[in-house]
């Protein structure tokens, strides 16, 4: 096997990955995402085993309220004396969960709706697309509020709801892809051969639409993270004492002028995490599209 890097990889996926890898921004963002996932996953793992993590995110230490970053508390403490670093680490696992579940929900609905609209066309398409338009008429925040009030303010509910209100973009994209791919030779051929719609969709069209869908997924994660932060900021986030990045900022809002660490670190974390996903998603899209 030659190590000559000038040889183009043989599979489309390989080519995409090569182009992705070539982008310096993409490399940095992937690094950050991996780090993020490690922190998040590691914290979740350790806490599920109830290991004696140096600082419990929920231990209140009322003698050490609102302390600035020090060697003892690297990122300072909040108004109940809880260590900000631990809260942020636990928050990272929640943020990642938020991103993944919300994207999962919105992808599922979006793919189903978009595929149906794009594949069957005609009236189905009209009805579905008009419904999508109609959904855009409802203020997102209000839908979230309603759902939270009806179902209860748990993290899972909030995340599912964020996913429920953000599937329209995916649906539009999937529909566009399906409309194009429906007219290709092999799909037409499969139809002539009498293959069932379900088989055609899953075996022929979806795999070819995989790249744009993946891009949407990656780009949807930071949207979900930012939504959760915004909701927490307004006071509609998860219950205490759970720590999410948005919650830490919301809790620390009143002390901001004196306790800058309460908003600076979680804010930077949200920024860096979102930025990484956006850059990675964009690089992925560039890599996928430039094969044309």
């Amino acid at each position: 096997m030659s190590n000559d890097s000038k040889i183009t990889p043989s599979t489309p996926t390989g080519r995409i990955l090569r182009r992705f890898h070539a982008d310096p921004l993409a490399r940095i963002s992937v690094l950050i995402i991996v780090l993020f996932a490690l922190f998040a996953g590691g914290t979740a793992l350790l806490s599920s085993f109830n290991l004696n993590w140096p600082f419990d995110p929920n231990i209140t230490n009322l003698e050490q309220k609102l302390e600035p970053p020090s060697s003892h508390h690297w990122l300072g403490t909040d108004n109940l004396g809880r260590d900000v670093l631990s809260r942020m680490l636990h928050g990272s696992s929640i943020s990642l969960t938020v991103g993944l579940i919300a994207v999962f929900v919105s992808l599922t609905i979006g793919i189903v709706v978009g595929a149906a609209a794009g594949f069957f066309g005609g009236i189905t398409d009209q009805i579905l697309m008009r419904s999508v338009d109609a959904l855009l008429c409802f203020p997102t925040f209000f839908l979230i509020l309603t759902a939270v009030a009806l179902l209860g303010p748990s993290l899972l509910n909030i995340v599912v709801v964020i996913g429920l209100v953000s599937w329209t973009g995916t649906a539009r994209l999937v529909r566009a892809e399906f409309l194009t791919l429906r007219e290709t030779e092999y799909v037409k051929g499969a139809r002539v051969l009498g293959q069932k719609s379900w088989t055609i969709i899953t075996r022929h069209i979806l795999p070819n639409a995989a790249a744009p869908i993946l891009v949407t997924a990656v780009l949807g994660i930071p949207d979900a993270i930012l939504s959760e932060a915004g909701l927490s900021f307004l006071g509609f986030g998860v219950q205490p004492p759970q720590a999410t990045w948005g919650n830490i900022i919301a809790d620390g809002k009143t002390y901001l002028l004196d306790a800058w660490w309460l908003i600076m670190f979680p804010g930077l974390a949200i920024l860096i995490a979102s930025l990484s996903f956006y850059l990675a998603g964009d690089a992925l899209r560039e890599a996928a599209e430039s094969r044309n």
Partner: protein, 639 residues
């Protein structure tokens, strides 16, 4: 293409230049300040009609534009506002089966008065007979006074007939006791539009409050009024159906102008008058841009003299952080200091702080319909297990005191001898053991297979309540009680949990001013869906004391009964009484001074802004900015 390029680069550069110019302009101009007071608030007034508004922010603006008949002075004594004087009396009416009986009774009273010196309990002003009735006018209202007379009459052998009950379902009354308040109104007062203020305005205000179409929240204060008469332009006589001591205080409420609102259908009020009201106060309405600001301008014809400030503006700054920022950069003149910031501000000589014991207390209410909480030992155990002093240190940074019941130390009828339950987790554990709750394997107590666990709910957006719930959770875990916390929106809390009594424990607060009448909250009859005894408290002794308070006019007696009520309820622990936060406001030192009228006319006392029993903003209309000194010279200056 050159034009495209020009446009492409030119437009953003133009915007940047505009930004720069405006930036320089704004920063350059922060020097010239007008003679205007800026007050920043997070919320906004909902309506500027004193009879219809119920929220705090409306009240702030309205207090500068309107007057009531009476008001509190700085020592919380009642003094006249639109009324110069008033007197209270009571008519006790007894009816008899025949005129002869009535004549006998009359004879008893007239002879009785001449025979013996009238005992202090019944200072009688006059007696006369009207048909089969005998009417006695007492100098002092009060149920007891009339009862004394009635009993004396019975002892003499006369037997009056009873009167029908006032409210359906209550008992017949042996006699009618109707308190009367007579107000003498100030002359020469004018409304902001120049029309004269007369007794017709007072009578109209009463009618408006009772009008269904006006939907006034103050209506319950006036339910017991039987008539409001205006014998002349400057006299008002109010007659009540039965002794009701809070009645006098209800006339601190603002008076509406009859000449404007009398002709206007209440459905039109929200769009016309309520958006540009006319009152009698030191400031008149200037302009209102919704959700931005309300500006009031000075009323040069105010009956106590024109205020020194040209205008007062209430700015809406919805975010608490930017509100604080605005204060720190002198864009608003006052700030309600968060507890954590008080210490650093106190140390800073540039600020003047005003602290007072708060008028509200925070509590965790138990749903007494749930069997678990009906056991007094559980409630007492929780009271001992929660470290309230620590909560005060940590959430309020020491700015507050532990609550000892339904009244706060600021109130003149507060009972200081009620002892607060001390923090004693060992005693709590003992109580729980005694009640049969044994420690389980997971650290939570169990009894008959049930774990000792409950859910506390509270409203969102309130850091203090959220922190209380979190600390409660921790403290109770130490003694083996599991607490889950759920936070909901206010409207959900009200309709779904409180309205349907479907909760276990709830963290709330009561802010009740100087009102000793807490019947609506604690009486056992007030447990219907819309009513405020939503925890389901019921104690016959408390019920009796609550009723007595309503009928007692003597200040001493009120203090005694209220004290007993406070101790009774505190012993019962229907709520976990938490604490009374101190409220602190801050002002840049020297930004304002006060020149207010003294006791005698022509006297003007100049002093710095100071704290009084009635608060520091009690006489805000007499604030002035040192750059714009008042024209009336000071007869006395306090440095």
């Amino acid at each position: 293409m050159r034009s495209i390029r020009l446009f492409l680069y030119g437009f953003p550069i133009g915007l940047l230049l505009l930004l720069g110019a405006a930036f320089l302009n704004a920063s350059f101009l922060s020097v010239a300040k007008k003679n205007e007071m800026s007050i920043g608030t997070v919320g906004e007034a909902s309506t500027l009609n004193p009879v219809q508004a119920n929220d705090f922010h409306s009240g702030e603006a309205l207090s500068l534009m309107f007057n009531g008949l009476i008001k509190y002075n700085q020592d919380l004594e009642i003094v006249g506002d639109l009324a110069t004087s008033w007197d209270l009396s009571q008519e006790t009416t007894l009816q008899f089966a025949s005129e002869e009986d009535a004549a006998n009774a009359l004879a008893f009273f007239t002879n009785g008065i001449s025979v013996q010196p009238p005992p202090p309990a019944r200072p009688i002003n006059g007696v006369f007979k009207k048909g089969k009735e005998v009417i006695i006018t007492l100098k002092q209202p009060g149920l007891k006074e009339s009862e004394d007379i009635f009993n004396a009459l019975l002892a003499s052998g006369c037997h009056p007939l009873p009167f029908p009950a006032i409210e359906p379902g209550s008992k017949e009354r042996p006699f009618k006791a109707e308190p009367i308040i007579r107000f003498n109104l100030r002359e020469g007062v004018r409304w902001h539009d120049g029309a004269p203020f007369t007794s017709a305005d007072v009578a109209f205000t009463y009618r408006a409050i009772m009008d269904d179409k006006v939907a006034s929240p103050r209506r319950s204060d006036f339910e017991l009024v039987s008539s409001v008469a205006t014998p002349d332009l400057h006299t008002v006589v109010v007659r009540y159906k039965k002794p009701f001591s809070p009645a006098l205080l209800s006339w601190m409420g603002s008076i509406l102008p009859e000449h404007i609102l009398g002709k206007l259908d209440p459905s039109k009020w929200p769009v016309s008058y309520n958006r540009s009201p006319v009152g009698t106060g030191p400031f008149k309405f200037g302009s209102w841009k919704t959700n931005e600001f309300i500006r009031l301008v000075k009323n040069p014809d105010y009956f106590l003299g024109a205020p020194w400030l040209d205008s007062v503006v209430f700015r809406v700054l919805p975010d608490p952080l930017t509100l604080q920022l605005a204060f720190q950069t002198k864009q608003v003149d006052f700030w309600d200091v968060d507890p954590w910031a008080v210490k650093s501000m106190e140390k800073n000589p540039k600020f003047a702080l005003f602290s007072s014991a708060g008028g509200m207390y925070l509590y965790m209410g138990w749903n007494l319909q749930r069997p678990l909480f009906q056991d007094l030992r559980i409630r007492q155990a929780v009271a001992k297990a929660v470290n309230i002093p620590q909560m005060i240190r940590c959430i309020l940074y020491g700015r507050g005191i532990q609550s000892t019941g339904i009244f706060t130390p600021k109130m003149w009828f507060f009972n200081p001898s009620v002892k607060a339950i001390p923090y004693d987790p060992a005693a709590a554990r003992a109580l729980l053991d005694e009640a049969g709750w044994k420690m389980g394997r997971d650290g939570i107590r169990v009894k008959d297979g049930k774990r000792l666990s409950f859910t506390v709910i509270t409203k969102n957006g309130d850091e203090i309540r959220r922190d209380i719930a979190t600390l409660l959770q921790d403290d109770l875990k130490q003694v083996g009680i599991e607490v889950k916390v759920e936070i909901y929106e206010w409207s959900v809390l009200l309709s779904r949990f409180i309205g349907k009594r479907d909760f276990e424990a709830i963290v709330m607060g009561w802010a009740l001013g100087n009102d000793y009448d807490q019947y609506a909250i604690w009486h056992s009859s007030q447990t219907h869906p819309e009513e405020l005894n939503f925890i389901g408290y019921s104690n016959p002794k408390a019920d009796r004391l609550l009723m007595e308070l309503r009928q007692e006019y003597s200040r001493q007696e009120i203090i005694r009964i209220a004290g007993e009520l406070q101790q009774t309820i505190y012993n019962d622990q229907p709520d976990l009484f938490l604490f009374v936060p101190e409220s602190t406001s801050v002002m840049w030192k020297g930004a304002y001074r006060l020149r207010h009228p003294g006791q005698k006319s022509g006297e003007w006392i100049d002093s710095p802004i100071r704290m009084t029993k009635a608060g520091w903003g009690y006489d805000m209309e007499w604030f002035y900015r040192p750059e714009y000194p008042p024209t009336n010279p000071a007869t006395q200056t306090i440095p």
